[in-house]
Structures are given as C-alpha cells and as structure tokens.
C-alpha cells in the first residue's frame, strides 16, 4: 500500500498526457455521451495549447498573489505594520468574497477581453489563503525561539529571513497550494471573457449541448488540479528542511 500514492499520481499524469497528446484515441470513450453523431473530442482548438494557457494563467496569478500576500502578511506581523492588520484583512477578504465572475464583469471594461481580466480575478481570489497562512506561520514562531534569535544578536531582517520565514514555510506552502488548486477550477470562468484556457472546452460543450466536451474540459481541469497539488508537495519537500517534521 506504500506505493499507492505514487501509483495514483503516475496514473493521473499518464492519463492527462494521453488526453492531450492523442485526444482522438479517447473518442470511443466520449462518443456514447453524444447524440446525432456530434463530435466527441473538442475540435475547435488544440487541447494541449489550451491546457498550457490555463496552467500559465493559474501559475502567474498565484505567483502574483504569493508575492503580495506574503509581503503583506510579513508586514502586518512586524511591529510597525500591526496597525494595518485589520485593514489588510478586510481588503483581502473582499477579494475572496467578491465572486470572480463579478470581478471579470468589472475588469473587462477596464482592461478589455482576454487573459488580463482572468488574471486579475484569480489574483484577488487567491490572496486570502496565502495571506492568512503567512500570518499564522509568523505567529507560530515559538516565543523562546524568537527571543533567542533576538538575544543572539540577529537584526530584525536576519531574524525574519533566517528564522521566521523558514519556520513559516510549511504553512505558506499550504496556502499557495490551496490557492493554486482553487484557481485551476476558477480559471475556467475566464473563458467567458475570451481568455484562453480549458473553460473554452466546457463552455463550447454547454452552448452546443455537447456533454462529451463538458466532461473533457472538466476532467482535464480536475487532473491538472490534482497534479498541481501533488507537484507543489514535491517542491516543498525539497525546500523545507527535515528539521520540523
């Protein structure tokens, strides 16, 4: 049973690769879902490039969210930044509460159709988990450890970089991971404003009553979410040191 996770991970990866590289092979699987001989495999665009765009959008948005949320999380846990904690929290909560669809609607008139409004919506939506986890991670530094860091003669910056951030890393990673996975799903909405991504496949299916398209788009998105979640775990293991198991 020890190898089960590896096995599942491998299967997901192989499945995703196969569906992207040889989509027509799956025609017999999806064909029974459609009536009147409608196409079973999405044929209005290249699945591989749509997936790549989808992934790129999600990763760029998450990277931007991470930079902003971690910086803000660190700032409000410093003494000088503490008064800004309630305000920052409110703003970031708004980002989460405001539905991404609504953000798209507001963003389109400002930045036009395409990838940009999606990036903005995903960026705003992804801030909260990273921000809250950064704060939790900073608070998790045991008082004696922080006291020792000061007592040894670390400057505030050295304490942050050498002690607090490394100790908060597992929690920050968890936040980034959460945000990535949420965004993989949310990014499908971007296709309503002409962003390239797997949402295109789902929406095409919905418009033409093609269940096979909807399922394909959904399946690819789901596989991507699972693999991203897993992938970040692997990266984390390289970055976060064994010490705080």
């Amino acid at each position: 049973m020890k190898h089960l996770p590896t096995l599942l991970r491998g299967t997901a990866l192989v499945l995703l690769a196969a569906m992207l590289l040889a989509p027509q092979r799956f025609a017999p699987v999806f064909a029974p879902l459609n009536e009147f001989g409608a196409p079973a495999i999405y044929d209005q665009g290249d699945l591989l490039s749509l997936t790549a765009w989808h992934l790129l959008t999600v990763v760029v948005a998450a990277a931007a969210s991470t930079v902003v949320a971690v910086a803000l999380g660190v700032f409000v846990t410093r003494r000088a930044g503490a008064p800004f904690l309630p305000l920052s929290r409110t703003l970031i909560n708004v980002g989460q509460t405001f539905p991404p669809v609504a953000v798209l609607a507001v963003a389109v008139p400002l930045v036009g159709f395409g990838q940009w409004p999606t990036l903005i919506a995903l960026f705003a939506y992804g801030l909260l988990p990273i921000f809250e986890n950064t704060i939790a991670g900073m608070d998790a530094c045991p008082p004696s450890v922080c006291d020792a860091a000061d007592g040894m003669g670390m400057s505030p910056l050295q304490r942050l970089v050498r002690v607090e951030l490394p100790l908060a890393m597992p929690l920050i990673f968890e936040g980034v991971r959460l945000s990535l996975v949420i965004n993989v799903g949310t990014a499908t909405l971007g296709s309503t404003v002409a962003a390239k991504g797997l949402g295109e496949v789902i929406i095409a299916g919905l418009l033409s009553n093609n269940t096979a398209f909807v399922l394909q788009g959904g399946l690819l998105t789901g596989l991507m979410a699972i693999l991203l979640y897993d992938g970040t775990r692997l990266i984390e293991r390289r970055f976060v040191r064994a010490g705080h198991a």
């Binding site: 450890v145 006291d147 007592g151 003669g153 040191r241």
Partner: protein, 313 residues
C-alpha cells in the same frame, strides 16, 4: 566589570524594575534570585537591551551599552534561556554556529569552534553535529543551548532560568558543568533563577530581588548571616541557615592532616555533605580524598559544627 546604574523599567502603571544599581565583578558568577514577577528577568534583559530601560544605564567595562546598536551588543554577550529557543529547522552544529556566523567568522574557524564546543559538552560531533534539536534528549538540548551561548567566546553570559526544564538529576549535572565551564573560560555569568538552592550553589554573589527592587547583593554566606531584609531571611530559610553555611564551604578547605577511622568523602564534598556522612555513620571524623584519591586528611565533627555557627562568619 558590569555596572548597573539606577536601572528602572516602567510599563505604564507597573514598575517592573525599580532603581537597581549593582556591580558585577569580572570572572564571577552572580545569581539573581526572586519570585516570579520580581523583575529579575527584566533586569537581565536590560543588560543586553532586549528590554530598553526607562531610566538608568548599563556599563560594560566602563562603556555605556546604549552607545552601540543593540544587535551588535548582543553578539558580544552570550544568552541562554529557559526553553532554550534552539532553532528547530537548523542542525545542532548550525545552532551552535549562529553567533560566529553573524560575526562573519570564516568557515574553518566556525567549524573548529563548533566541534570544540560540542566535545566540551560531551556531544560527540561525529554523532550529533548534523542532527536536529528534536532528535536530542532534554539534557542534550540544554547543553546545546549553553554551547550556542558560548560559541563566540563572550566575556559575559546571561542566563535566564537555563535549567528550569530539567529534572533534578540532570539539573545537578548541568550546574556542575556550568561551574566547570566558568572555571575554564573565566566567563562572567549573570544567572537568573527562582531556586534559592541553585542561586547559592552557583553564585559567587547572590542578588535577591522582590517587587522590582534589589534587596541585597552579597556573598551567599552574608545573606545567611546578615540578611538585609525580612524577605531575604525568609527566602534563605530560617530553619536551615546553618546547613546553608556549611554547604558553602568545601570540606577540603577545613581538613587537617592525618587519616582516621570513618567514612571517606570525595574531594568535592562540602561541609554539609560531611555533616550528613558523619550523622549517618555515627563516626566522629571523616576522611577527605584529594584529587589523586589519597585520603590522608580528615575533618572532625567538631570542626564541621564550628563552621555552621553564626559566629564563624
């Protein structure tokens, strides 16, 4: 020499430390003892400026500590605390190397120093240098904490209840180790504790604090014989004054020539231990071994008792 001049720390309505002046001689151990809330930790933390005094100043070798950046000052002063504060994401060697690295020592020098210290504290570098703190026992972690505090060869070491988390047996061992380290390196140590026995055992001088004020700062024997305040006599214990005095005198200092019939004491024994051995065995005299193990000197019950009398002070 460390000089505390009229140190005061106020937090809004409360005064944590109230006008404390004190001189700490170099190469000695000063223990600061008091109940919780007596201001002893705050006093200690004002010396390395983890707490900035409201009033007063600290001079180290005549130089006001406020004249240099706090983090630079702290790199020159060892600091060990209860709970140790070992960095959980760093190995034992990296923990010990913290201050030398902050000071920019070169790699070879850091490596040499870390290995030397680990060996001093009976932590085989080959085995322990690369493990993480959570893999160590409580006693080992405590030794790493002290090793880290001493890493950059500070002249002054501040310790805040460093042995508070240890069981009585490990605690006794840690105290012996500290005395040994202090003798070897000649470090000036200021140690805060709530345990009067620890304060007496380790301190060349004992400072008693209560309610933020320094009640008495003197040699341990003087605290017993001339308590400056009712609180001091209460802390010292009215029913064991004589025993405390005896515990301060090494038996070897009192021993006279000649071997006798009776128990044999180790060379490190105090008169208190001698008394215990004499009462227990019913003998009138006990031999005192010297460093080589020879037992040609002894103490008598009468000489032990004489040292426990107030008049002897």
């Amino acid at each position: 020499m460390i000089t505390l001049e009229r140190l005061t720390k106020r937090y809004e309505a409360t005064t944590a430390v109230d006008d404390v002046s004190m001189i700490v001689e170099p190469h000695t151990i000063t223990t600061v003892v008091g109940t919780s809330g007596s201001g002893k930790s705050t006093l200690l933390r004002m010396i390395n400026r983890l707490v900035e005094p409201t009033r007063g100043r600290v001079l180290i070798d005549g130089i006001d500590t406020a004249t240099e950046p706090a983090h630079r000052l702290r790199r020159r002063i060892g600091y060990a605390i209860q709970g140790l504060g070992l960095f959980p994401h760093r190995t034992v060697a990296e923990n010990v190397a913290t201050v030398p690295r902050l000071l920019g020592w070169d790699r070879a020098r850091v490596h040499r120093r870390v290995h030397e210290l680990l060996a001093t504290f009976e932590l085989d570098p080959a085995r322990y240098a690369d493990v993480y703190p959570h893999e160590l026992s409580g006693g080992q972690q405590q030794r790493v904490g002290v090793a880290r505090a001493l890493a950059a060869e500070p002249n002054l070491l501040l310790m805040d209840e460093p042995f508070g988390a240890l069981d009585p047996i490990l605690r006794g061992k840690a105290q012996d180790d500290l005395l040994e380290v202090q003798r070897r390196f000649g470090t000036t140590i200021i140690l805060v504790t709530h345990d009067i026995d620890e304060a007496f055992r380790l301190g060349h001088r004992v400072a008693v604090m209560s309610g933020g004020r320094l009640l008495q700062h003197d040699r341990p024997a003087r605290l017993v014989t001339h308590p400056a305040d009712p609180f001091v006599s209460q802390l010292v214990g009215a029913t064991e004054r004589a025993l405390r005095l005896l515990a301060l005198v090494p038996a070897s200092e009192v021993a006279q020539a000649g071997a006798v019939e009776g128990p044999t004491l180790p060379g490190t024994a105090t008169l208190r231990e001698a008394l215990d051995a004499l009462v227990w065995s019913g003998a009138a005299a006990a031999n005192v071994a010297d460093a080589a193990g020879a037992t040609d000197r002894h103490v008598t019950l009468a000489s032990v008792l004489a040292h426990g009398r107030r008049a002897s002070e």
